[in-house]
Each structure stands twice: as structure tokens, then as C-alpha cells.
Symmetry: none
């Protein structure tokens, strides 16, 4: 990666379930991060069009209206929404790592979208296992995108929320030489702040990589609109975005309940320094004892001859 790289994490609340307005808000944040000197800016899980809290709070039998709206506001790739993000990324000359609910046919996916400073989509990936209530909303990705995004500023990887609970998912990325990891999470869930903290610091340590951990925050308006069932389950704010060093130290943040943009200057030498002690894919590995098998073949339903 670059010897020195300024990065940003945008801890923002989306304009809930409004794709167009959330894209606009994201574009403002991209511009601001660029003005702040960042060359890469990461956003929270499913930032566009927001996290499907309704699936936690409503009974599955009562979910349909919300789900149809969420489906309608989800993001096709490419579409005018992604083109708008790309245009602003190009104007601002930054890399954008965006959490989106991706729509593909009749199925939605919890996705990560990476756009380069040249305005091109570098890649995207889909969460492999939706968590709990998310299974009512999102389908499952496959191994075809379980890999890094090579960029001129460094080898970039990403996982979403409880994907960080699966050591093999994480190893599949770090084994490729991950240098900058983007971890995306929802906001409004104070009860998992401790889990997030341990996960991102430990992944930084295992990967000897920088971690950009982006949560959103839950606004009072959205919280109220979610109704009484949210009381005691979700909380206003509930963010904990942070930027972590390859040793697991917190370089910036954590941000709490307020919106904001975190910045940190990443010193690539810290990776090397850490790897001389524990290089998980070099001198600290034991390929004679444990190896990871990754199936990157797209899972096609129909194979044409």
C-alpha cells in the first residue's frame, strides 16, 4: 500500500428508506471527506437505503409492506444511483466503499460496493450469511466475490457485521495480503458495541492490517417511526466507528451517538513491523497442518454448454 494514506469513516444516518436522498447525503459526505484530505472513505452496512430494522421488530407475518418498500428502495448495480456515486467519487478523487442493499432480480443482498477515484466500479461483494432477522430480507452471496479489491492505494477487503464471527471468511481475505479492511455494521445497537470492538481489533491483529470500522447511527425520528417495539432493543445513536492499526490499537474514534467523519493517517510501515512478529500468512502459518479451501466458483443455477 501507499507509505502513507489518509482515510475516512463516515458515521452517518441514511435518509431512511429513501434511496435518492441517501445517495445525495452520501455524495455530500464523499466531498467532505475529500476536503478533509481522505483518499478513501468507508460507509456503514446497508447505508443505502438504510438497515432493515423492521425485520427485527415486526413479526414475519407483518413484514410485507415494509419489505416491499425496502425492495423498491434497494440499489441495482449499475443504476443511476451508482452512477451518481461514481460521478462524485471521480470529482472528489477518492475511493468509496459503500454499504448497499443490492437488488438482483427477486432477491436482495447485503452488499459492499467499491468505487475508484476514476469513477469506475472496482468491485462488489455480498454478505455470505445474513444474520438472524436479515434472513427474511437478504439472500446469501457465494465465494465468487470473497476476495480482495486491488487498488493503487492498497489491497482492500471487506466484511459485513457478523461475517466477522466466521474465522474462515476472515482468513480467506487476509490470506491474500489484506492491507486495509472495511468492516461495516448497523447503528442503533448499543448491545453489540463490545462485540464490534473485539472483532475489529482482533481482525486487525490477525490480518496485520488496518481496519476501518463503520457503523451508522439511528436518528430519533427513525427510532420513533419504528414504534414501541423498538424500545429497549434499539437506541438513538448507537454508533462506534473507529480506525484500527495492524497491532489492534485504536487510531481514531470510537465515535459515539453522533454523526461525524473520522480520519486517520495510515502508516504502511506498521504492517511490516507487525508482520515481523506474527505474519499469519508467512512465518506464523502452518500450511502443513491447517489449510483453507476456498471455492470461488460462482454458484450458477444453470450451466450452459
Amino acid at each position: 500500500m501507499l507509505a502513507s494514506l489518509r482515510v475516512a469513516v463516515a458515521q452517518l444516518a441514511p435518509v431512511f428508506l429513501d434511496r435518492t436522498k441517501t445517495v445525495a447525503k452520501a455524495c455530500d459526505a464523499i466531498r467532505e471527506a475529500a476536503r478533509g484530505g481522505a483518499r478513501l472513505v468507508a460507509f456503514p452496512e446497508s447505508f443505502i437505503p438504510g438497515y432493515p430494522y423492521f425485520a427485527m421488530l415486526l413479526a414475519p407475518v407483518a413484514i410485507n409492506e415494509s419489505l416491499q418498500r425496502f425492495y423498491a428502495q434497494s440499489v441495482e448495480i449499475p443504476s443511476t444511483s451508482t452512477e451518481e456515486l461514481a460521478r462524485v467519487a471521480r470529482e472528489s478523487e477518492v475511493f468509496v466503499v459503500m454499504g448497499v442493499s443490492e437488488r438482483d432480480g427477486g432477491t436482495l443482498y447485503n452488499g459492499q460496493l467499491v468505487i475508484g477515484p476514476d469513477g469506475r466500479v472496482i468491485g462488489k461483494r455480498r454478505k455470505l450469511v445474513p444474520t438472524s432477522h436479515e434472513r427474511l430480507v437478504w439472500g446469501r452471496g457465494d465465494g465468487s466475490d470473497l476476495s480482495l479489491f486491488p487498488t493503487e492505494v492498497g489491497l482492500l477487503g471487506g466484511l459485513i457485521c457478523y461475517e466477522h464471527s466466521n474465522a474462515l471468511f476472515r482468513y480467506a481475505l487476509l490470506a491474500e495480503g489484506e492491507e486495509i479492511h472495511v468492516a461495516m455494521w448497523p447503528g442503533g445497537m448499543r448491545s453489540i458495541v463490545g462485540i464490534i470492538d473485539a472483532a475489529v481489533r482482533h481482525h486487525a491483529f490477525e490480518a496485520q492490517a488496518f481496519v476501518l470500522s463503520a457503523t451508522s447511527v439511528l436518528t430519533r425520528d427513525v427510532l420513533s417511526a419504528l414504534g414501541d417495539s423498538a424500545v429497549g432493543k434499539l437506541s438513538e445513536g448507537g454508533g462506534s466507528s473507529a480506525i484500527i492499526s495492524p497491532r489492534g490499537d485504536v487510531l481514531a474514534g470510537p465515535l459515539g451517538d453522533e454523526e461525524g467523519i473520522l480520519y486517520a493517517d495510515l502508516d504502511a510501515a506498521l504492517i511490516t513491523k507487525m508482520k515481523t512478529v506474527v505474519d499469519s500468512t508467512g512465518h506464523y502459518a502452518r500450511p502443513d497442518v491447517v489449510r483453507l479451501e476456498v471455492d470461488r466458483r460462482p454458484q450458477k443455477l444453470v450451466v450452459l454448454r
Copy 2:
């Protein structure tokens, strides 16, 4: 595992480089933990005969005298030392998970020894990759012992220090259904307390298992005896033992610079509760995408026909 199980972590300093006295001190601690109601007690890394700090502080060319003494005080399995531990385990009716420097022929290993309340050795394992300066002291284990110890109180696993930096080592254990994990660390190293904290809480979360994290403490006497080179590198005390829930919450500890025995009552239902959300080896796994290959064959130098 048992529905409810009281466990203990002994954060103690060994009688440095004195196997006989350290065994005696360990036996006292086993008895005390038993009196405290514990049915299982875990000790720190290389508790017998102490952690080889000399290998950090002395130049390799100056290491020999210390190394020969360390070799002489290391533990053969079985030997009178292990028989003494076993006798006390039987009398106290507890499981003992002990960190030992194991001696086998001309090579030492950083080992974990598990003794049952019937006084039998249930098993042992060897650290797969010694860390940094440890490579001057200890050899490398193989995959033959990278597995759990089945006991009547639960499925028990263990790793030593920076083995926790390797996601595949950890997954090899948790994939077998680990319920209680013993993480062993040295004492006297305040600089890695943050790493330990993230590692044990995150492993608990990934494994949906209880973690008993045992560090030793460094006494003023031993620290002084290590000489000036230890200043700024090691610190008096430097423990951070803790007991963690399957959700990553701290149930007991962390203990700081003092010796002591931590206790916690483990409620097996917490494992199930966590697994309904993220069962890393069940509904949250993707064996169609990522699989771990483990080679458990002993690495024999000579194969007889």
C-alpha cells in the same frame, strides 16, 4: 457441557526456573481452587518452570547458560512432576489445565497439559508456532494434538499466546464444538494486554464458547534478576486474566498486577443462546464456500514398515 460449572483461573507467579517448587505452588493453588468450589482450574503459559523471559532480554549468543537451566527445569511427561500434579488433582477432584515447558529428547515444547479429577493425563498439546524469541527455546508441535479434550464437564480446547493470531488454528478447535477454551499467556507484558483482551473476547464470540484466559504475573524479584535490559520491556505484575462468556462478555476479572484466583459459574445455556444467532459450525457456516483442511497425522521422521 454441564448445565452449570464453576471454573477458576490461577493468576500466579511460578517459583522461577524451579520445577519442584513451582509444582508445589501449583498444587497449593489446585487445592485452593477446589475449596473455592471450582471443578476446573487453568494456569498460565509455561507456568512450570516459568516463561523464558531471558530469551527476550539476552542476545542469542548469551543465552546458553539460561537455556541449559531452563532445559533442565522443564517437564517430562510423565515424570514425578506430572504425577504429583495428578495426585493433587485426584485428591481435589478438579480438572487441571497447566502450562508447561515440555521436554522431549533434545527439544523443548511450549505445552498445555490436561489432567482429570481421576488423576489421569487426559491429553497434552504443543504450541504450533513459537513466537519471536521463543524460537530459540521451543520447537514446533504438529497437527496430531490440534483437537479438543473431551471431558465429562465439557469439550475443552486450548491455545497458547499468539496462536490466537491464527484464525485457522482457532477454527480447527471451535469446529469440533469447543465449549470451554483455555487461553494461556505470560505475565509481565503490559503492552499486549489490549491484544489479549480483543483476542479472548473475539474467540469467545467466534466459538460461542467460554474462555478462561490465564496470564501469570512477574514478581519484583524475578524482574530484578532479569537485569537492566528488562526495564521498559517488562513490568512488575502485568497480568490480565479473565473469564469470558460465549457472547464475549467479561464474567470475571480482569485481574491486574496481583496474584489471585478468579472464579466464575458458567451457565451452559449461554452457549445455546449465542448459537441460535451465530453458530459458526452450523447455520452460520458456509462449507460450500470455505472449508478447513486439517492434517492431524503425527509428523514422524521415520516411518517403519
Copy 3:
């Protein structure tokens, strides 16, 4: 597909074994459906020039005269017959999905012909396995046309009669994202009305698609002309056309023994709504376990190298 689309099913009897008159009758029906607001109208199996009942009722040794006449009245593509249909489709601005006995050299095929509102042939396909007595009349198609017809009103697929008994034929279409399925059947066979009912409702459910099921009816004149051997085998009328929702609900029909044109307004949101529950090609698929291999290569007799 279009958010809302009015479609029609023409349950009519052909002018038996008279291509020219049947084409004329079809054109009248196209114009009527257009007047009724339909943008797409589907016709029964082998509507032009009629279904070869003779092959059921005559001994194969006695079939020749009927077969020669049937051959002569079958439809070449293109030909003046198809041009006439295209002209009327253009004038009426509707999509036409027509059952034809297609003549290609010395072989006939049980075919489906799709014409667009611009008067162009969008595509055609051939029944893969003729059923029973049909094997005396029609040849077998290949995989080259086992795919959807993309149109501006939606992704259109079609199968003929007992092709619906083959799960793989059906899956090959639905896996491409079928939105409107045209199922064609003969008339005059009351004994299979239950089979048709289950087939079209279940296919709608499996594909999360609308199904236009078109049967013809058998007139008293034609039935008499078929002679005594038809008694107890065929029945006057014998239609059961219907239009089905993606949930398997009947939106229009079934029509019984009389001729008529069925209409329904298709609400595309019903597809999405159903797919959030069972998307056979998305979140409800298991490509890691079952996959369909489709060979779409034309089955050429001579391969030039």
C-alpha cells in the same frame, strides 16, 4: 415486466385442418383482444391448423391420408400465413403467442410462435418431447430454443402440454427469470383438466410468474367427423383456459366448454411479493447442491470443420 399489463387467452376452436381460415379466425381474435385492452394474447396448442386427434383415434397403419393433409395445412415460418398474423399483430399493437404445427422440410414440429406489436417474429420454439400418439406426427425440438423471449412487456416463456410434466424443462425457463408463462393445451380432453389445473398453478408458484393457460375446444362438427372411435375418449368442448397469479391463484377462468376470450390485469408487484418468500432462482435456490445443465447448442446433423 410492466408494472401493470392486460393480457388475454383465446379459448377458440380452429377451422379444423384449414390453415387459411384458421389464420383468419385467429386474426379476428387478435383484433378483439386488442379492443378488449389486451397487449398480449395467447392461443392453444397447434391452433393452426388444429390438433391431430386423428393420430389418437386411427391405427398407425390407417393414418396416412390424414397425416398428408395435416402436413399440407401445417405452417412454414415465414410464410404468407405468418405474415398475415404479423400484419394484424402490428395493426392491433399486441403480442401474439400462437400454437402452430410448424413444417420444416419433411418434418413437422409442435411449435410456439411469438410475434411482436411491431409485426416481427420475436421467436419460436418446438416441443421437446411429443406425447404418445403425437410421435407419429411431430418430431422433437432441441435445446436451442429452450429459453425466454425478451419483450418490452416482460420476460416471456412457453411450454406445450405435457412438457409441463418435466421439472427440468420448466426450470430451464424459470431460471432465466420468467415473468409470463404461456402454457398451451389441446381441447376436447376432459380427463386431463385436473392435471392442467395442478400443472399451471404449481408452475406459477415455482416460477413466481404469471401463467396464461390456453386450451382449445372441440366442436360438435369436428367431434362427429372423428367418428365413433372418439366416443368416450374425447368430448365436446373440453376447455379449461385460465390466467394464474405468481402465487398460484386463479385470476381469470377457468373457461369451460365454450369459446371465449379471458382477460386479466397482471400486477408485476405480485412477482416481487412472492419472491421475497420463495425466489426459486435466488434466496430459495441451492446451487451448491443442485444445478441444471442446459445444452442450448443446436443439434446439427453435420458438423463442418
Copy 4:
């Protein structure tokens, strides 16, 4: 299969979330079916310990207490519960096909258990894709059990509920020569009775096999206990069990809202009779055009060498 075979379908309500009592009730039904002359008796989906309606009606955030109880009452295989079923199957000399929520480690599966008249477990399988709210409760099976259970009375296959929406799952079974298919469904859901009807009659037609379709019924007590949120979503009774011929005709049933045991005498000659017209795996197949790839390898997380 046997030339003639009397089978039974038990449309019963479980003793809700009480494994022991439900097993006892199942045993009574087995004995009764045997007295009625049946040699095989099929039960509804997740009969032991009942269908997890709570996952439909409660918000995911409110599900935990119910889920822990459901976990505790689920069925390990083998266990005293399955041994009790096996004992009664042996005494009664019948085949039992039972719907169970199977517990394996931290994950539950929606399972089908087949026990023979010799009291041995012939096999079991797990639902490949849990539907909607079920994803909060059950994990996903793999291809290792997507196959038939060979018995002396015929080749037996089974699928659970909306697995019938996946043509490839169904074809994987029928392609092996399925003769008797057991389709399991929950009770209390009047809104899907039409889907069930089409699915089981169409599968019989596609497979040219007999189908035993078993739903449970929802009692007033359980419905009341589910609370107000069930109103308009679930209904008392709501069964529609039936026995279907290879032509798609209804041989017995459907039963409506009451408990009861259906019987039918299956005439194996009907299979052959149907196959002479449409043998989906013989003369009506087109392996040159469409083929199914099935991966029956168990999806192991860890591969040992």
C-alpha cells in the same frame, strides 16, 4: 414397490412444544394406523415438538425465550425419543415417516425421520432451505441426504413444505425412481391450502408416484396461546392432508380442520400405467438437452487428512 400397499397419513396436532407427550401421542397414532391395516404412516412437518409459529408472530428481537424452549424440546437422533418411536414402530410393524425439529449441536434442522418395522432408523433428511421466518430457527441441510430411502415396500422420498417450490429438489428425488413421496406441511394456514393442493397433485404427475401429504392442525388452545398477533394470520384447524395417485388424482382426503387418520390402498400398477404416457426419467426426458447435477457430498467444515 409392493403390488398393493395400505398407507396412512396422520393429521394430528402435537402436544405443543412438549416432546415427551408428543412422542406418546405419535406412538398412539402409529398403533392406531397399524390396527387400521396401514404398513406405512406419515406425520406432518416438525410434528415433534410442533411447528415454530412463534417465529412468524413474534418480532425477531422478541423471539429468544420461545426459541430456547423450542431448542430444548427438539429431537436429537438418536435419543430416548427416537428409541421410543422405534420401539412402537417395531411392535406395530409399520414404517413411520415423522416430521421432527432435529437438534445437532447448536443448530436445529427441519427434519424427516424414517423408521422401519424392524425398529431401525432407515434414514433422515434435513430441509435444504428454511422458509422465511423459519430461518430464525432452523439451519440448512446439504445434498448428502437428498436421496430416496429404499424400503421393502417401495422407494420412499420426502420433502418439506416449500421445498416443493424447487423443481430441482423434486427432480433429484424422482430421478431416482421415487414411488412413494411424503410431503410434510404445517397446519393452521388456510391461505396455503391451494398451493399445497397444486404442489402435491403436480408432483405426483411429474414423478408418476403416490404422494402422502400430511399437514397438522392447529388447536384452539395453541392458537389462543399464540396471542392476538395470530388473528387473521393463522386459523384453527387448517389441515388439508391427502393421498394422491401417480396421475394426480386424490385417493383419500383432503381432511379439513379436524384431526384424523387417512388411509388408502396403493395400486402399484398405476405407476406403470402413467409412465407409459409420461416417464419423466425415461422416454419423456431429454438428457441431451437438460441434466441435473446433484452434489451429494456432505458439506464438511473441516477435512481431515
Copy 5:
């Protein structure tokens, strides 16, 4: 091999921890050896950028600054450094066997690099077991490069320093028909001159091969810079390079404390002459009693399907 071949051993001191200048010095030596008639020239262990004496002399806790510099000055393959060596090899028309500290990702390896007179990299290998303090610096190679480099002047093999203590490593090479063996060692260590002498003469005898044994020398400047801790451990000079015949006789050298280039003319007939007495891989072998198993599979951490 060639019937007669002039070879050289360059006993030189690197420009310590300065890759660019050491490459330049190596290039001068290559040119000189070529002028001296040599067609192959061997260099000492880790010649570029020098041997990591600091790891012997500094405590592991004090090693970091030195290690980072050593990492930075290590050699990537390919890189401008190796291209420069290749250019000079091509101009001088000699084979070059160079000791390098190879950098690959976050891990360094103690490497041997072989370049041909056509300027192409023929191959490279990595030390299998770093010795003592080297474990703080270098990772471990695998079996994938434990084999000979075939060249037009003979079958070339190489091992580094105490790899010569492992009979199986040596046999793996000689069993392939090794003709010219390059043994690399550091300089400045008078205490191991006797070990080097026995090792290279005995390997020549066991392999019936010529051995080019290359040590570096330690300059006064570098020795001073290493500080007081080096006193009594390292010595100025400390070289013992030599060229050995297949019978174990010394053909040239040993050189002592000074820099210099040794030359010898190798007579291939000596190999044959020795093999008629003891051919370790022919008439003097007992494959019925002892056999070597070599695993040459690269030890990959991730296996892609």
C-alpha cells in the same frame, strides 16, 4: 556435467545492510571471476544485504529497528536488484549462485538465487529451518524448491549453513544426482570453521560431488559497529571458503580472514571414479531398507477450487 569446468568462490564482505552497494560489489566480483576464467561463481549466505548478526547480539526485545532496516534492504525476486545481477551475469557469461535475504510479503527467507549466463533466473530456494537467532528474522521454506537446478554445466544443488546438519535435506539433493553443490555460510564465526570443514568434505564424499563452500568475512568496521556485545562472539575475518573434490579432498582454499576469489578446475571424471566405490544412490544404496520420502508440494495456505 562438463568434462572440465572452472568455478569460483567469492569470499567477500557485503556493503553491510546496503542492498544497492552490495549488488554493485557483487557485480564487480562476477566480472572479475569471469575474467579469471570461471563459468560459475558462488557467493556466501545472505550476501545481499549481509548476515543478520544483530539477531545474535541484540536481545529480541531490542531487535526491532535493526530488523526493519534489514527487511527494507532485503531482496524481492524479481526486482531491479536481481535484474542488475542478471544483466552482469549475461554480460560476463557466468552462472551466479547468490545468497540473498529474500523478501516475500511480510516474511523474509534465507535464500539462494541462481542466475544463468543468459541472464535468466534459473531458480531459487529457501532455507528450510532457520538456525537459532535466525528464527527471529527469517521464515521457513517448503519442499517445493528442495531440488537441483539443471544447468548446461552440470546438476547444481545448494544448501545453507546448518541445513548441512540434516542428513535428509542433503540426501534429497544428492539422490537427484547432484554434481556441484554450493554450501553457503556466514563469515566472522571462527568457532564453526571445524564444523564447516567436516560438513563440506563429508557431503562431497556422501554425494560424490564437488562442493563450493562460500563464507563471507566480517570487516573491522562492521564488527565495531556491532558493538561490545560482539566481542568474543564474532571475529574480524572468520572466513574458510574452499572447493572440495568428490572424494572430500580440498582442491582450493581454505581462504582465511581476507577477502578473495578462489578458483578450481573441476574434473568430472572424479565423480565417476568415486562412484565406482561408493555410489550413494546406486550400488551403495539399500532402497529395500531405507527410503526417503520428499514432499515437494508447495505449502499453500489457501486452496482454490
Copy 6:
């Protein structure tokens, strides 16, 4: 092995081809070594009844008379000769490692015989590959005796002459933990003194074991008796016995042309000290890359089933 052990090497000339007198001379030497404090004494290759120089010097066609005499004077095990040696070993309380030409049926073997201080034969072994002219005299041993002799003073191994040229033979012994190695050689061959020197010092280093290297000396009488053909081939004296440390240092010797008994006090700590640096069967091994397969099954000519 014992912490400290005095050993002896008897560099003597046999009473040539006279078994009885050579046994007597050997017994005298055993008594002397015991008086000198030795607890173990080693003798040269084929000491009883002398080395078959005639096979070097006579043409094979002229060898018969000498060979018959050699056969007659060779040693059966057991026999009165071995019983006499055993008696004296017991009286003197020493271990004896004797070179013998063993007679077994019609075949002779170049053997090593080990007798304990209790007067029992501990074991014997046979040279695996006779060298050159020896093939006219001796047969080949098998793997059944390629192992160590466990004794109360240490793990004892032995090889004969050019067996030391085979790395696998040597590794088969050292892999078992060899502590004391007896290398036997003939006398009278000054030309191989350099080979012997390198072999025994290098084996000590590779095995981290003590080596007792025993050569005989050739007397003027015997040399004369061998006739003119010996001139320039053999030399009077020609011994080079020595005792070597696990580091390859010479502890005693080498003796030159005269008879004599060498003594050394072995300090077991030197093995450990060396193994902390290069333990060939522990931390310095790579069983994942190279493994030795040893077939210790006796090579039977007839296998009974």
C-alpha cells in the same frame, strides 16, 4: 545417557586370521580398559579374525585358499569365542563393542557385536553394503538390525566403514536418539584418513552424539605376508582412532600408526547443549518435507502362510 561416562577405543592389530589368539588379545584389552576406568570399549572393524586385505590384493580367481581360511576363522554367534568375550566383559564390568566377521551357515557378514557388563549379548548388526572387494567375502545385512542398542549407559549405535557414506543409514540410527556412536574401520589405509576424519566429525554434528571411531593398525609382519602387491596400497600402521564430541570436536586422538587405547570422559550435557541449536530429530527437522522410511522386517527367503 549417564551424566558422565568414561569410554575407551582399542586401536589394536588382531593376531591375523587366528580367532582364538585374537579373542585372547581382545580380552586383555578389555581388562586394561576397565582398569583405565572405562565402562565401554570399542574395537575396530572385523577385529576378529582381522580384515580381509587379501580380497583387495589377490585376483578373485586366486582368492579361494585365503577365503576358506578366513571362513574357518570367522565367528559364530553364540560360540565359545563369544562366550569367552562375555565372561571377561562380565568380570571387567564393561560394555564391549566388537568388530567381527560373523559366520552364519555358508555366508559371512561384516558384523558388530555388543556385549553387556552382565555378560549377555545385547545385540549385533551386519553391514548393509560391503564395500568393493568386501563383496567377495561378506554378504549383506537387512533392516532388522538397523537400530540402536539400548543400554543403561546410553543409547548406542554403530556403523561400519563406508556405511558412513550413506546419509540414510546414519539418519535411521540418529533418528532414534543415538547418544554414543561406534564407527569401525580397518587399519593400514592412510589414504582414507581424511575421509574418516570428516565422516566421524560430521556424524557427531548431525547426530548430536559422541562418536567412538576405532581403526586397527597393520603390523609389519602382516603387511609383509600380504606380499608385493600391497606396496603403495597399504601402509604399516595406518590408524586414526578418535573420540569426538557432539559438536564435532576431537576429545581424544587421533592415534597414529601405533597400537594403544584412547580414553575420554563423556559429558552428557554436551548433547543437550548442541541440541538446543540443531536437534536433527526435533526442532531442526522438517518431517512435513522429508521423512525416512525404514523397513525393519527381516528379509526372509521363505514366507509361510
